[in-house]
Amino acid sequence: MTATAASTVSAPDKRRITTKPRTSDVIFRGVLSVMSMSSLLILALIGLFLSLRGFQAFKNEGLGFITNIDWIAGVDGGEDNFGMGAMIVGTLLVSAVAVVIGVPLSVLTALYLTFYAPETIKRSLVTIVDLMASFPSILYGLWGFIVLMPMAEYWAQLLNKYLGWIPLFSVPEPSFSRSPFIAGLVLAIMIIPIVTSVSREIFDQTPLDRIQAAYALGATRWAMIKAVVLPFGASGVVGGAMLGLGRALGETVAVYSVLNIVFKINLEVLYGYGGNVASMIVGKWGEASLSESKALLAAGFVLFIMTLVVNLLANFIVRRTVKTGK
C-alpha cells in the first residue's frame, strides 16, 4: 500500500537548510549589539570628560591633589591650592562607621527573616526593607538633621563619657553636633536595605541538605546557623557589605545635611566635623570659579574611580559565592 503511494506521488524538493540568518535578524542582532554597548560608552564618557576637564587640577597639583589637605581657591588670580586628602579620609571614615553599624544589623535582620520570622511577618518585613531602599536620599538627610541628630548627639555624649579612654571616641572639646558618627548613622540606615537583601539572597541559597543534616544531628537553630549558614554565606555577606560601602562612598545629599565639612583630617568620630568628597562637591559648587569647578570635576573623577573599584570588587565576591553555592 505504501509502496504504490510512494511511486505515484513524487517527493517534494529537498528544502535547502541554511544557517545564514535572514536580513531582519541581521538587523535585529546588529541593533541590539550596538545598543548594548551604550553602557560601555556612558562609563567611558564619564571617565573621559571628568578626567579631561579636571586635567588642569591633576597637572598642577600632581599626587598632592590626593594627599594634600588644604583646599584654597586663589582669589583674584592668586594661586590655587587644591588637595582632597582630608575629604578622602573623611569619606572613608564616615563610610566605615556606616558599615560597622549597618552591616551587623543587616545580617541579623537577614538571618531573622530567613530562619526565624513567621511567614506573615516575613512578607511584610521584606516589603518594608524594599520600601526603605526607595526612600529619597533627601528624606534621609532632612530626617537625620531634624530627628536623628538630637538623639545621636546624646548617644555620642554617652559613648564619650564611658568609652572616651579609647582614642577613637575621645574629643578635644565637647562638640558632638554634625560629626562623622552622625553622618555614619544616617548612611548606616541607608545601606541597610541593600546589605539585607544581598545577605538574605545568599542565606536563602544555603543547601537544604546541609541544613537538614545539622538538624538531624540534633543542632538547635542557632547551632545550625553557626555551623552551616554563616560559613556558607560569609563571603557573600562581605560582598554585600562592600556593595553597601560603595553606596555609602557616593551618597551626597544625606551626608551634606548632617555633616560639618571642614578641610582638616579628623579621626575622632564623635567630634563635630569631618570630610566627604561628594558633599564637598555640592557644597563648593555654588560659588566656585572656573578653575575651582575644574578641580571639583577632578574630585568627582577620584570619587568615580573609588566607587567603581569597590563596586566591582563587591560584585565579584557576591557572584563567586552565588556560583559556588549552586
Binding site: 560601555l40 535582620t109 536620599s137 540606615i189 538547635t220 568627582g300 566591582l312
Partner: protein
Amino acid sequence: MTTIESALKAKPSKPWKTTKRQLVPSVSLLLAAAIATYVIVALTPMKGKLAYALLFFIFSTSFLAALSWSKRGKSAAKDTIAATVMLTGGILVFLPVASLVLTTIVKGSDGFRLQIFSSTMQSTSYSDPLTSGGLLHAIIGTLFLILIATAISLPLSILTALYLTEIKGKASGLIQFLIQAMSGVPSVVAGIFIYAALLLTTDLRGSTIIGALPLAILMIPTVTRTAQEVLLLVPNELREAGLALGATQWKTVATIVVPAARNGLITATILGVARIAGETAPLLFTLGTSDKINWNIFSGGQNALPYYVWSGIIDGTEGGLARAWTGILVLLILVLLLFVSARLFGSRKVK
C-alpha cells in the same frame, strides 16, 4: 456514618504548636523583665528611653535564656539568646522606617493643603506664610524629568536586556560587568559628568532635558537588571515554538517574548522611575531653577520635587523647612504609589 462525619469535621491537630499554657512562663518572665527594668531605672541614676530599652533587652534576654537552660540545657539557652538578638536587630531596622514615615506625615501635613497643587512659588518666597504658594511647578517638572529620562533610558535598557537574554553574544559577560559598574555610579558623579560634558564649555544652560540626562544614566542599570531577570523567566519553550513555526528571531522576540514579559517590563520601568524620582544631587548641577511652571523643556530652568525640598532646606527658615517637609510628603506619596503599582504588576505571573 456519624463517625466519618465527625472525623471530617474535626480539625487536624498540631501537637507541635505552642499552647497557651506553654506561653505562660515566657510571658511572665517578660513581665518580670519589664518590672525589673522599671525598678532599676527608678532607683539608679540611669535615665531615659535608652536606659529602658537597653535594660529591658538585657533582662528579657537573660531571663528567657535562663528559662531555656532550665528546660533543655546550655545549647537551648544559646539558641534563645541568638533568637532575641536577631529579633532585636529586626526591630532596630524597623524603627527608623516608622520614624521616617511618621515624621514626614506629621511635619508635612502642616503645609499639605489643596492650594499647593494649584499654585507655584512665582510670587511667594519660602519664608512666607504657608497659606500662599505651592509646588505645582515642581510636580510638573518632576513629571517632565521622569518622562524624558524614561524615554531615553527605556529603549537602551530593554535592548541591552534583550541582548543579554536573547542573543547571549560574545560581549554578554562584559556588558553584565559594565551594567554592574554603572549601578554603582554615585548620583553626584552623573550630575557633574553632564555638567562637564555639556555645560562647562558651552553656552548651554541648565534645562529640563539636560536635567533628565543624569537621571537617565542612573535609571539604565536598574531597568536593565530587572528587565533581564523578567526576560529570563519567559519559558524557553515559547521561543522554541516561535522558531519552530518558522518565525525569525526578530519576530519571535517582538511578538512572543516581549508580550509575554510585558508586565515584568512595566515593573522594571516603574522601579527605575522610583529610583530617580527622588534624586536631588544631579539636579543641582543640571536643572537650572524656576519658580513658575516652565512648559519649554529645551530652554529655561525647571523645578522638581526634590529640588523644591532642597531649596526649602537651604532657605533654612521655619517656613522653608515646613515647605521642605510638605515637598517630601508629596514625593513620598509619589514613591509609594510607584512602589505599590510595581508590586501589583510584579505579582501577576509571567504568562
